[in-house]
């Protein structure tokens, strides 16, 4: 079969006569034709069978949904070429089609010769997409393989806008309500101007505007006002907003596939849909962009997997933490274990089982990426990305370093990882994570801490640092909420964080104090610099308060993550996540399948 043959065409027209004729014509072009007389049905068909169509032919006037609306939705969600057709060939209408992104406008009666040629739009679209990817990282549903890199671009560009991020954090309210509503609400007559190139800067402006308004309250008009960019129209903004939202959504889809992290974007309590994966996305993105060397990830996973599990009482999160702290005892030790347990709520045994451990490993990623801040200060997804990256990096490093020590202990499997870890550390430049630039990233960590109440204790029995675990209070405030309060309050980036973080820190501090090893741990890390306290991020804040204590410093380092040499990091191994969200569980389970 040569190319145009078998082209999968969806024809949408409420006019059955035309539908029938079109079907026959297209069939004679040797295309594979699907017909649909209702736009809404067509849309759900397109959504269900993603990637099952190459091009959409749609009537303009349809009773259940304006053809332009369909066009726009399809363009945004599926990014398929859409050809409009209508008996009404008046210029303004055709113009509207163009503005909405129609790649062609056929005036009825449609002739067979015109249909023979529609494959060109498929090709053209693909070509343009590739170009777009290079520039702005547009979203492409069809080519999943491309996505990794695209996302990375997207993410990185986003990260660059530190100020935007700050604003986002300040302004963003619950992300819960998110999108759907607005998509539908959007005036069908909303028109897109030809194509605005959404440069990184422009997009940043856009993002910051959105975040000022709050994602749920962001309407094109206000965004436009805030952006104040000459030449930009409401339509441009409207379509970009939709794209942006869909992008966020799509990310979540990706996340689920890859297993991962709950979305930073959404509150932990939210449903899956929202769980989006920005977090995951980040990791992916980072990995894709080369910021995180693949080895690192691999190493991380390997570590987690390889680790023998210490037995911890599953039910007791606190216990776990405390145990970690107290115990020089190797008892606590597996990250995988600790981590996985809370999530799954499984009995302690889980940790021992390898398969689950595996899960845990991925969970780690999730945890890193995933912790959204519930508070008003919720970090923009983008920010999160940065943060995640940083975190993951730091964690990775920590883990890696630990490995050697653990190896000593008795676990052969881990040793494997060691090398990669070394590699990893150098590979991560601070810039790549942009930790310095983005206070947001630090916040991310905070948020992370809060929601998750994640504890990263050192794997090595000796070191009991709870860098991440700050949120968890020895007192038994297992609730993430407590932690959250500490971090989330201002929600804004680093400087503000300090006050918030304090609470968390205190708890952390206590823990640290409790653990005799904490100080020792700090001592152990050769690279450890006292200066760590400087770190901007939530970590830094933490560190500032906690500075006295060695372990906390470590935390600070972690926040910086990339900049610090691997040696600096003390061993963190344990990820303790207490989280009851079912979404999370689901994700975990999904991961398992994965």
């Amino acid at each position: 079969m040569e190319f145009p043959v078998g082209l999968r065409v969806l024809v949408v027209d409420d006019d059955v006569t035309c539908l029938k004729i079109m079907e026959q014509m297209l069939r004679r072009c040797l295309y594979r034709v699907t017909t649909c007389s209702q736009a809404t049905v067509a849309l759900s068909l397109l959504r269900e069978k993603r990637g099952c169509f190459d091009v959409v032919l749609s009537d303009v006037h349809m009773p259940d949904m304006d053809g332009f609306k369909l066009l726009e939705l399809v363009g945004l969600e599926m990014d398929l070429p859409v050809i409009m057709m209508s008996a009404d060939g008046r210029t303004n209408l055709v113009m509207r089609g163009i503005r909405h992104g129609a790649c062609d406008y056929l005036i009825k009666p449609v002739r067979e010769e015109e249909l023979k040629n529609i494959w060109q739009h498929v090709v053209r679209k693909k070509k343009n997409e590739n170009k777009e990817h290079e520039h702005s990282g547009s979203l492409d549903d069809n080519d999943r393989h491309k996505r990794g890199s695209d996302d990375a671009e997207y993410a990185s560009s986003v990260n660059e806008g530190a100020e935007g991020l700050l604003k986002i954090q300040k302004k963003r309210r619950d992300a819960k309500e998110e999108d759907d509503g607005e998509l539908e609400n959007d005036d069908p007559s909303t028109a897109k101007k030809p194509r605005v190139v959404w440069s990184v800067e422009l997009h940043q402006q856009f993002v910051s505007a959105v975040n000022q308004l709050g994602i749920d309250k962001a309407v094109p008009k206000r965004i436009l006002e805030l952006m104040n960019v000459p030449g930009l129209t409401r339509e441009n903004v409207a379509s970009h907003l939709q794209k942006f939202r869909l992008y966020l959504k799509r990310l979540s889809g990706v996340a689920q596939q890859q297993g991962g992290m709950p979305n930073t974007y959404c509150g932990p309590l939210e449903q899956n849909g929202n769980h989006s994966s920005l977090g995951r996305f980040d990791i992916q993105a980072l990995a894709a962009s080369g910021q995180i060397p693949p080895q690192t990830l691999a190493a991380l996973h390997a570590e987690l997997l390889g680790r023998p599990t210490g037995t911890l009482s599953p039910a007791m999160d606190q216990r776990l933490l405390q145990a970690t702290l107290k115990g020089p005892a190797g008892i606590s030790v597996d990250h995988g274990v600790a981590f996985s347990q809370p999530l799954i709520r499984c009995p302690s045994n889980i940790s021992k089982q390898f398969p689950q451990t595996t899960i845990a490993a991925e969970d780690v990623n999730m945890a890193l990426g995933g912790w959204p801040s519930n508070g008003p200060g919720t970090v923009g997804p983008i920010n999160t990305l940065g943060g995640l990256g940083a975190q993951s990096g730091s964690i990775l490093m920590g883990m890696l370093q630990q490995q050697p020590k653990q190896t000593i202990q008795s676990e052969p499997s881990r040793s494997i990882n060691v090398q990669p870890s070394c590699l990893v550390v150098p590979a991560q430049p601070s810039s790549s994570f942009q930790a310095g630039k983005n206070p947001a990233s630090l916040n991310q960590n905070c948020s992370f801490g809060r929601n998750s109440a994640i504890n990263y204790s050192l794997l090595s029995p000796q070191s009991n640092n709870i860098s991440f675990g700050t949120g968890q209070v020895p007192d038994g405030n297992l609730k993430s909420s407590t932690v959250l309060n500490g971090y989330s309050g201002p929600g804004s980036i680093s400087p503000s964080m300090s006050s918030c973080s304090i609470n968390a820190d205190n708890s952390a501090t206590r823990q640290l104090q409790n653990s005799p090893f904490a100080s020792s741990a700090a001592g152990q890390s050769p690279g450890f610099s006292p200066n760590v306290s400087d770190t901007q991020g939530s970590y830094s804040t933490n560190s500032g308060q906690v500075l006295d204590q060695g372990p906390l410093r470590n935390l600070g380092f972690v926040g910086k993550g990339s900049s610090i040499p691997s040696s600096v990091y003390p061993h963190y191994t344990k990820f303790f996540i207490k989280r009851s969200d079912e979404c999370f569980l689901r994700i975990v389970l999904a991961e398992r399948n994965f």
Binding site: V16, M25, H61, A87, R111
Partner: protein
Amino acid sequence: MLLGLGANQLLADMNRLLSLLFHQGVLDEQFLELQQLQDDSSPNFVYDVVNIYFNESEKLLSNLRGLLVDKEFSDYKKMGKHLNQLMGSSSSIGAKRISNICLAFRAASDQNNRPACLRALEMLENEYCYLNNKLHEFFQIEQQRVLAGGVRYPIQQQQQQPPQQQ
């Protein structure tokens, strides 16, 4: 042979009828396109499509009438949509005159010119009846022809198949 001649006769009738309709401007070449689309995979394609068309346009016409008869009528936009659909399907089957009237109808509708709309609607209804009758006739002849000679579309192939006699 006799039947074959009869088939040819019928075919001539069909062509005469068609050319009349073309000449009157009732149909245009789009109808020929439609005939071209008929093939073995859908041997009754033209007939099916035209049938669908008549059913649909009948509904549309009654909708239009319903709209216009209503004294408080003011929904010209809705009328415009009906008209667009009618225009789309009419032009797609090559019902040229109907789609031309639709065009005028829509212009009247755009101007909220109700009397003109009513006039246009009446013309549409007349055209609809006329076309319906003529095409009905056309298909009847065709059916006879098929029965007589086993020859069917496309017309160009008329001489190729010898009539099948029982």
